[in-house]
Symmetry: C2
């Protein structure tokens, strides 16, 4: 973390009009439903050289998550304005950055049911310099598999991420960079990425169901495959088929497209980033530079 | 909420030595892992006339939850001291109260994996007057069933309660007081209670697995059944058997033993609190008065 003052944005019970504050001065109430119930949603957005990648898509998905939880918040223009102001205040008008947004159901005395309608959601936004891990993209990463014990609404980008935390930690402790979740015998997704296999020239990824997040980078990958005539099948990859895959890669907002060259210590394909994965990385880079304008 | 000043206890990055503060002055960092990842655990403890009910059991379960998540906190004496001081400060030396404790993995810049070992957990404790809902205990409540879409480690009392929130809200909107979760066709538990059926004089409740919390009141119920020679079977209650139950009740720290007289609008048994349920309520009351000394 830089020692330079980092600004954040907060709109909450105690800051009802919304405030830009140094991040370490932002205060959340212990009775915030985000702190006591994981009752909130979030987004992570990238800029490339100061330009947003797929901002409207992220904000649309954010609204989808809010609506799915019936959190009464729809002031997307407020969020957009806060993001832009934070990029300026944090001196991120050029270069790469990530923006983190979170909205919770607000502050109320603890009780499971929703608080009264008069309770306003809490809005929090932060923005920081992002340094891509170029080595991972170039050389590929190791992954482990982990039992997908998450809840049944992984299509909602909620802050209830404890299962992701535990799986990711186990990955790190096993010298891996990602944990690939397996539910009912098939790969669902990673702890913060979507997962794609390649077999005989075909790209395979879990269909959009309640068990995965509809990733924005996932959409881009599917779009690029369509553009370049790469066949795609949105279907299940059984865990037992992992050794038969020619290539494996993960995709996400900060991960972009990253080859997975090893799972549970065993090499995938040649044990090096695959040809199709590398081609998609090149295509994605062009796509991003065109999209983030 | 009373307008009288309510004290709470906080030990965190910005209050490393621990502080008693008016509750509305307690500040949580937005980068607390409890706010961004549901990376924490909690307990709710009751006092009866100023005396704790099963305090050591609650603290033992709290430690179990912490250990299950590998949150590096074991200063139970600190928690005990904070609880006692809060009861005094909040003028709760007599009468009924609830104590809420929460410990999270602490404050660190957002990343799924655990923060460095130097990061200290956040400790938060509050205590408030509790007014039992005597009508519910006397007349029984209505419940609905809800698909149990929670994660696979419901034996850990984590703050990842979003599925509980959504189910409980649906119950309230349907004129019910509790939602009874059904997973794979069988009753698991309620949103904040354990569930017991009675059929032909036998008490039936879900066995202790990863799909339910090992409730302390649940233990008391089983203990009372053993004492009074009531047969118990820890087995599954299929959802389709609900209409065949003679009685149904829920049990929990604040709920105690409460009859369920209706599920999804249909009466259970006679549609009134059952005989065995009422006998257990009486026995539980005696048990509590003896235990909370």
């Amino acid at each position: 973390m830089s020692s330079r003052k980092e600004w954040a944005y907060i709109k909450s019970k105690t800051a009802p009009k919304g405030l830009f504050l140094p991040k370490d001065k932002v205060n959340i109430s212990p009775n915030d439903r985000g702190f006591m119930f994981a009752d909130g949603v979030y987004e992570v957005i990238r800029t490339y050289n100061g330009k947003f990648y797929r901002l409207p898509e992220h904000l649309k998905r954010f609204q989808h998550s809010l609506d799915a939880l019936r959190i009464n918040f729809s002031d997307i223009p407020l969020i957009e304005a806060a993001i832009k102001e934070l990029l300026a205040r944090n001196k991120l008008p050029t270069g790469d950055a990530t923006i983190y947004l979170q909205v919770t159901r607000g502050v109320w005395q603890r009780a499971h049911e929703f608080p009264p309608k008069s309770v306003r959601p809490t809005v929090y936004v932060e923005a920081a310099r992002f340094v891509p891990q170029k080595e991972y993209a170039r050389l590929g990463i190791a992954a482990i598999t982990a039992s997908d014990i998450r809840w049944g609404r992984c299509d909602i980008k909620s802050i209830g991420l404890l299962a992701n935390v535990l799986a990711r930690q186990r990955a790190v402790e096993n010298g891996a960079m990602e944990a690939i979740f397996v539910r009912d015998g098939v790969i669902t997704e990673g702890t913060h990425t979507n997962v794609f296999g390649v077999q005989k020239g075909e790209v395979i990824t879990h269909p959009k169901t309640n068990h995965i997040l509809a990733g924005i980078t996932r959409e881009a990958v599917l779009h690029l495959c369509a553009t370049y005539g790469i066949p795609v099948c949105e279907t299940f990859i059984p865990e037992c088929n992992i050794p038969k895959l020619d290539e494996l890669f993960i995709a996400g907002t900060t991960t972009e497209i990253t080859p997975v060259i090893k799972v549970n210590g065993k090499p995938i394909g040649t044990g090096k980033p695959g040809k199709l994965t590398k081609a998609l990385q090149v295509a994605f880079r062009d796509h991003v530079l065109a999209a983030a304008r």
